[in-house]
């Protein structure tokens, strides 16, 4: 949006300040002062309303009377509405200015429509009235395209923002989880120690009951999960790879990391998930046997559907 600046006043203010500064620096040389005062005069001429400007009020009124439409012109000819807006609007505030124009137009339209309604004249365009518009369809298509593109951009931005936030949150969650796991592990180890001490104290009496109790008390590491805590399911090394891997050299560490990443990406280790085991289904599946054409020389790999 183009902001209309009040050039004269702005420039004038700057210039005045400059002059003052100059004045403080030097106030002895005559010629300087003269030139400055000249400048000042120039500025004042620009900023203030010029006194030589012509304003012939009588002439204006006469002229208006000359070419004016007669006073009793039917309103339908002029369709003119005056709107009085009380509040002053700052010109350089784009939003306020446009809002003022809008409200003026809205109020005017309301009044005008009320008038038209009272006259009983049709003023709304019927739905089946098609005629040439000011902007062509091609132009309106462009406008629509632009709006769509803008909307899409906005949505994408929103999505990206959300993803970023989610990432932040997920990091936190991850950190908490690891902390919790460590805590759990510590507790479980402690509980085992405690249990051992108790057993020692009691002199290994009623061994079986104690064992049962301690395991039933629910502090079994990992809860429902099989395997030790802090070990990802499918890690065959039982979490030891991690422990020892950390103490290697830096290069080793890096290699290790690479390997881990690759494994996570392409799949290594972990249960085969019984993929290769036979089940009842596979044993009963005799599709591999070719019983239709009993040729002994058939391609063994070829499957017959």
């Amino acid at each position: 949006m183009v902001v209309l600046k009040k050039y004269p006043s702005v420039t004038n203010r700057d210039e005045m300040e400059d002059d003052e500064e100059l004045g403080t620096i030097s106030n002895d040389s005559e010629s300087e002062q003269e030139s400055e005062s000249d400048e000042e005069q120039d500025e004042i001429k620009v900023a203030e309303p010029s006194k030589t400007a012509i304003y012939n009020k009588d002439g204006l009124v006469d002229k208006l009377g000359d070419f004016k439409w007669p006073d009793n012109v039917d309103w339908m000819h002029t369709l003119l509405i005056d709107i009085d807006q009380d509040q002053e609007v700052d010109v350089n505030d784009d939003l306020a200015r446009e809002a003022a124009f809008y409200t003026q137009a809205v109020q005017g339209t309301r009044e005008a429509f009320a008038k038209l309604e009272s006259k009983g004249l049709p003023y709304l365009r019927p739905f089946d009235y098609y005629a040439e518009m000011v902007k062509t369809d091609a132009h309106m298509g462009k406008v629509k395209d632009k709006l769509l593109v803008e909307k899409k951009q906005r949505e994408e931005q929103e999505e990206r923002r959300k993803a970023r936030e989610a990432k932040k949150i997920s990091k936190q969650v991850q950190a908490e989880k690891t902390k919790e796991r460590a805590k759990e592990k510590k507790e479980s180890i402690e509980s085992v120690k405690k249990w051992r001490k108790q057993r020692e104290k009691s002199g290994y009496a009623n061994d079986k009951d104690e064992m049962k109790l301690s395991f039933e008390s629910g502090k079994v590491p990992g809860g429902k999960r099989k395997g030790p805590p802090g070990v990802s399911p499918g890690d065959r090394s039982g979490g030891k790879a991690k422990q020892f891997g950390g103490r290697g050299k830096r290069g080793m560490d890096k290699n290790k990391k690479d390997r881990e990443f690759k494994n996570s990406k392409f799949g290594f280790g972990g249960r085969k998930g019984g993929k290769k085991q036979n089940t009842a289904e596979t044993t009963n599946d005799i599709r591999g046997f070719n019983n239709k054409n009993n040729s002994r020389f058939g391609n063994k790999k070829r499957k017959v559907s």
Binding site: S26, P49, I81, D82, I83
Partner: protein
Amino acid sequence: MGRKRKQTEIAEAEAKKNDVAPERPKRTLFGWKIKNNDGEVIENGGEDDHTHVFRNKEKVLITCSRRINFRYRHLMLNVASLLPHSKRDNKVESKESKGATLNELVELKSCSSCLFFECRKHKDLYLWMAKCPNGPSVKFLVNAVHTMEELKLTGNHLKGSRPLLTFSANFEKDPHWKLLKELILQIFQIPKDHRKAKPFHDHVFAFSILDDHIWFRNYQITVPHNESTKMDRGGLDKMTLTEVGPRFCLNPIKIFGGSFGGPTLYENPFYVSPNQIRSLQKKQKAGKYVKKVKAKTKRRMHEMANAMERDELADMWKE
């Protein structure tokens, strides 16, 4: 040329005839024969005989100067598309004598007013609004131009539907604003029953004075209505406006008594020409080095004028 002149004469003759048509008495050799209007059906049935029917027969000539900017040309075309009672003409050379040529052109085209877009230095747009042939005319500086082609304005309306004109109340403040209002009204309002005008009202012009400038906006009116021509109950409250464009802001410079000339009736005391503004800005930028040199010489003069006293203890440690 000749043919056109004839047409204008005919048009003028017709205009005269229409103006007094209903009450013209029949002419005889020696004078007038006043006839009772028994059999005649007069157009303005209920009105007095003395008030003739008002007919708006405005035609606006829209043209521009040579070497106009594309942006300003588009603005002109937009305005022309808003005013179906306008006629276009070739570009006019922007010379001293342009007033005379324009007056001639307007007469040739049998128009009664003129919008002349004058572009100078490919930067500054001046708009002349003139009533021809006997004035007044106004020269504006046009600022803050946005054409209809700009894609952010999403409204659209019928081409040639008559606009509602809304003016801010401060148009009634001073005589020059009153005159401008009348001029704008006459030029921008499409004549009722114009053959190219459409019978519905779906857009509104807003003219308002802010900061001694006239701001123009054009809005499309959208009213939710189920029946084809009747508004719903409370539809006025639900009515919304969408801007169609163009936008511009007019800074009045001068009002002349005649068309494209004549005595000056008003001069904007606050008007600063864009050339002056530019030169001022340039001057401000340019003064840097000169100021520096000035300050240096002043400093030297000052030092020379009040020289430092010789310090008594200066060569105390030399011996």
